[in-house]
Structures are given as C-alpha cells and as structure tokens.
C-alpha cells in the first residue's frame, strides 16, 4: 500500500466513523440515562435521512435547501422521539429488559413501514450541497470536500456534547439522573422530564446523522439495519453510556473497517463483530466505561 492509498483510506475511515459517531453517541446517551437499549435508533437515523430528503426536495427552489433541511430534519426526528417517549417508552421503565427490547423492536417495524408508505421503496438521492461539491485536490490526493466536512463535524459535535453535559445546568441534571435517579428525584429534579429530554437529544443526534449521510449515500429502506449493528459494535467498544467511549469507538470502528477492507475484503464485516466480542469477553464495560 502506497502512502497516497493509505491517506485516502485513513480519511475515508475517519469520515465514516464521524458520521456514525453521531448515531452511536445518541444510543449510548439513551442507554446511559434511561437504561434502555434503543433498537429503533437505526430506524430513527433512517427517518432523519428521509426527512432531510423530503425537506430539501420540497424547498429546492430556495438557495441552501440542504442546510435548511439539516436544521429541520433532526428536529422532526426529535419531535417524533419525544412523542414516542411520552406515550410509549415511559410505560416501560419499570418493565423487564425483554419487554423494553420488544417495544423498541416494534418501533423499528413501524418506522420502517411508515417511511415506505410516505416515500416509497425506491431509493432517493440528494445532491451534494453547495459549496461542498467536488473534491479537494492536493498533489495526487483526491478527496471529496463533503467527506472532509463530515470529518470536521465529528469533533464539533463531540465538543458540543461535552460542553452540554459538563458545563450547563441541563448537563448537570442529566449526569445527576444518570448517577442516581432516586436521589435526583428526591432532590427535586423532574426525572421524567429529563428522560424525555435525553431521549429527544438522542433522536436529534440520530436524525442529524441521517441528514448528514443523505448526500453521500442513497436514502432507501433497509439502510437502518446495518447502522444499528455498527452502533452496537461502537458503543460496546467504547463503553455503553460513555461519550468519549463513543468517540473513540467510532474512530476505531471506522479505521478497522476501512483498512480491513483492504487486507481481507471478504471478512471486513466480521472484523467489527470480532472486536466487539473480544471487548465483551475481556472488558465488558468497554475501553472508556467504568465497571459496574
């Protein structure tokens, strides 16, 4: 492998990792605070991608329609998530793990079919938005601007979330509820409201991930399944509930898939699972998590 190929592979690994970071971190946050493993997270990501397609195509007469949809699509997903949390998930917190699992599974089926009803089964595409069309050329290196933009997004969202969790009142409340829900409740924190907020935040992030992915890959039914499993791999590697873990896990996952595909193309999918298994077996709480 020459240097040029190496750099390209590195960049594409990081850019895949950074998009999926947004989705995985939402899954991880929801698990950390609500203690619910949200299987519908992939479906919410797909919903975000469809909403992005919908908004940007119906606003296509306006300049910067994609950027507007980048604002609206995640909000729509967050709103949907808020409704789901309020009417359904809220009844499940004291239930058994299996029942929560099946509820979120039912949501996958419902969201996927609603997307089919609304937008059909054909795949939809969005043009790469202005001003990120084309590719950056640096000597013999060619890399799409849009992917470089995605690489930039990852750390931005990481820092933003870190600030939110560690430097704001809401973040303090979320951490308190995560740490001890009864005690936080006793101290006057409105725990159900915090749950709704965290779930909506997770959904917003999944929707954002979907909207950001839309210009670089086709929006179609079934795009949710692969992402969900990738997210599982990432949050397990990093540690369920850990923000920095999700970031690190996404980077590792992106790089392992990018380089794995060059070494043994056929087993590229398996690398992620093997990594996940090794982590679960030797360090179930993940690289950055804390043992329970």
């Amino acid at each position: 492998m020459n240097l040029q190929g190496f750099v390209i592979q590195l960049l594409s690994g990081v850019s895949t990792g950074m998009v999926i970071f947004l989705i995985a971190v939402g899954l991880s946050l929801i698990f950390g605070t609500l203690k619910v493993l949200n299987l519908a997270h992939g479906a919410l990501y797909m919903l975000g991608a469809y909403c992005c397609y919908w908004v940007s195509s119906s606003l296509s007469h306006l300049p910067g329609s994609f950027w507007l949809s980048l604002i609206f699509a995640p909000l729509m997903v967050a709103l949907f998530g808020g409704i789901v949390e309020f009417f359904l998930l809220r009844r499940m917190y004291n239930r058994e793990f299996l029942e929560q699992f099946l509820l979120t599974f039912a949501l996958i089926l419902i969201i996927a079919d609603l997307c089919k009803l609304a937008w059909g089964v054909d795949y939809q595409t969005i043009d790469t938005p202005w001003p990120l069309e084309g590719a950056a050329i640096w000597g013999s290196l060619i890399f799409p601007w849009y992917n470089l933009f995605l690489i930039l997004c990852g750390p931005l969202f990481y820092v933003g979330l870190w600030m939110l969790l560690n430097r704001t009142r809401l973040g303090r409340v979320i951490r308190a509820v995560t740490y001890n829900r009864e005690m936080a409740n006793a101290l006057g924190v409105n725990v159900p409201l915090v749950y709704t907020a965290v779930f909506m935040l997770g959904c917003w992030l999944a929707g954002m991930g979907g909207a950001l992915v839309a210009p670089m890959s086709a929006v179609m039914p079934g795009m949710d399944a692969v992402v969900l499993i990738d997210c599982f791999i990432i949050v397990v590697i990093g540690g369920l509930g850990s923000l920095s873990g999700a970031f690190l896990g996404s980077l590792i996952f992106g790089l392992v898939t990018a380089f794995g595909i060059m070494v043994v193309p056929r087993l590229a999918i398996a690398f992620g699972f093997i990594l996940m298994m090794v982590i679960l077996i030797i360090r179930p709480w993940g690289l950055m998590g804390k043992p329970e």
Partner: protein, 325 residues
C-alpha cells in the same frame, strides 16, 4: 387452593389432548397449502419453546437464537446435499452440532449478565451469519443451498407433517421433563435471584451454560426440521430478524408458562396469515400488535388467560362466603 390446582391441571390436560387430536386429524380436511402453514407453526413452536428454556425459565435474554437455529439447519442441509449419509443421521447431526456450537458460544456468554449477555449472543449470531454468507465455497453464501434431497417417504407434505408432529411431541415432552426436574426448578430460582441461588451452593454459570446448551439443542432440532421441510436453506435463517421473530413468538404466548411459546406460534402464524391477506404492511401491523401486547396484554395470551381463570375462580369462591355473611 389445594382443590383448585388439580382442576386447572385437568383442564390443561384436556386442552392438550384435544389440541393433539385436532393436529393429528388436520391432514384429513386441510388443503396442502394450509397444512404446510401448520407444519411451519409446529417447527416454530419447537424453536420458541427451546428458546424459552433459556429465556423464560433461566431469564437469559438471547438476541441470537437464530444463529444456533441456522447451525442446525445448515448442518443437516450440507450433509444431505454433499454426502450419501442417511437422513436419520443427518437429522441427528444438526441438533448435536448446534449444541456443540452453543457450548462454545455459551461458555463465553454466561460470564456476562444483562444487556452485555444479549449483545454478546448477538455478536456470535452475526459471526455465524457472516460465515454462512461469505464462505461461498462451503455454504454457497447468498444463493443458499437449494433442492436438498430428502427420503421419498417424507416427500409428501402429509408425511412430513406427521413426522414434524412426532418430533414436536417428543421435544415438548423432553422439555416438560427438564423444566419440572430439580434442574429446571434451579433454573427458575436462578432467574428470580442469581445472588441468593449462588449462596445456597449452586454453581450459577454451570447451570446457565447447561440451559444455553439445551436451548441450543432444541433450536438445532427446529433448524434441522425446517431444513427438511423447506428443502432449501438461506443465510437469513441466521439473521437478527429471525431471532427477533422467535422472541416475539415467546412473548406473544407468554414466557412464564410452558405452553406459552407454542400458543404464541399459533397466534403469530394466524396473525401473519390474516394480516398479509389485507395489507402488504405486515411489519407495521406486527409492530402495532407488539405494542398493544406490551401495554394491554402483559404476560402474553397464556398469562392473560390464566389470570382470567384465576380471577373467575376467586370470584366463585368469594360468592358463597358473601351469602353466608
């Protein structure tokens, strides 16, 4: 209470015998298409009851039963397709290999609890799926193995139906014995409180591993049986949708009763048949059914019915005392 118990047992026994008689007579007045649907239901019932050994009795939520199921199906399929080994041996090899793989997988999985256990079972089943999908030279990958030869005797659907029915009875009988043995009671104790069970001197992991292996064996039986039924096997036998289908079936019927998964598979097949007749959006309907079930019908169909029966009996006993006072 003492007088009430035998009455319930008697009712259940009568229902089981009646159910078996209906199943045995079905081929007489059922079309071949419907019969093959019932056959599929029987196989699903074996898989779901097998899964429930681990799920309902031992409280271990596996996300990957389909991986083990596919091991059973592919073992039988490959032996029948590539060799001249008799059907009986190929049929036995499926469950045995499934149990063997379960031993390996379970050995790692029982070290974890809760969501970590579930995620590791998912990872293993995905690995099995990847192996089946990618090892083209051995498993024919995406194309699946088609037109698997089975003995001429089992070729007609009616004969295969009776074969499945016998296997179902044997499996359910075995599992009934297992869950009512001291071993089965220990598993239930373990489900209720692993910590305390360990205090009374039970080797928790060993019991969980045994449940995992037994579960895997019966999942393998279902896989092998399905392989002979369908005569084709495909990688999606091992995928997450299949696993979830089994979990839904268990929950639909009720995971805390022995016949729950069997009832669940009947209800599931009926729903599938009825809903797909009216709409192409079967997943949407299934999703709504699951949500309705979780909110209104906790404990599944069997749990719901037994609650009703208990309530009715309670009333019955209350009534005379009201009169006397």
């Amino acid at each position: 209470m003492e007088t009430a118990m035998p009455k319930t047992n008697w009712m259940i026994r009568a229902a089981v015998v009646a159910g078996l008689m209906v199943l045995a007579l079905l081929p007489v007045f059922m079309s071949r298409g419907s019969l093959s649907l019932v056959n599929e239901m029987l196989i699903l019932a074996i898989a779901a009851t097998g899964l429930n050994l681990m799920l309902g009795y031992a409280g271990m939520v596996s996300f990957g039963p389909a991986g083990i199921y596919a091991v059973g199906a592919y073992t039988t399929a490959l032996i029948l397709y590539d060799t001249q080994v008799p059907f009986a041996l190929a049929f036995v090899a499926g469950p045995l290999l499934a149990a063997l793989v379960s031993t390996l997988v379970g050995w790692f999985c029982v070290r974890l609890t809760h969501v970590y256990f579930s995620l590791l079972t998912l990872a293993f089943s995905q690995i099995i799926h990847t192996i089946i999908f990618e090892w083209y030279g051995f498993t024919k990958g995406d194309d699946g193995i088609v037109e698997i030869p089975i003995p001429a005797l089992l070729e007609p659907i009616v004969n295969y139906y009776y074969f499945s029915l016998i296997i179902l009875c044997v499996c359910l009988g075995l599992m009934w014995m297992i869950v009512n043995s001291p071993f089965g009671k220990t598993l239930q104790a373990l489900r209720e409180n692993p910590g305390r069970t360990e205090f009374i001197g039970i080797h928790v992991r060993r019991y969980q591993l045994s449940a995992f292996i037994l579960s895997g064996f019966f999942l393998g039986v279902a896989g092998s049986l399905y392989c002979g039924f369908n005569k084709n096997v495909f990688p999606d036998y091992a995928d997450m949708m299949k696993s979830t289908e089994m979990l839904v079936v268990c929950l639909l019927g009720g995971i805390y009763s022995f016949l729950g998964p069997t009832v669940g598979s009947i209800v599931y097949m009926f729903l599938d048949k009825i809903i797909t007749r009216f709409t192409e959006f079967w997943p949407l309907a299934l999703g709504l059914v699951i949500i309705g079930l979780l909110i209104f019908l906790r404990g599944g169909v069997v749990g719901f019915l037994s609650d009703r029966i208990a309530a009715a009996r309670h009333k019955e006993r209350e009534a005379p005392s009201d009169v006397s006072s």
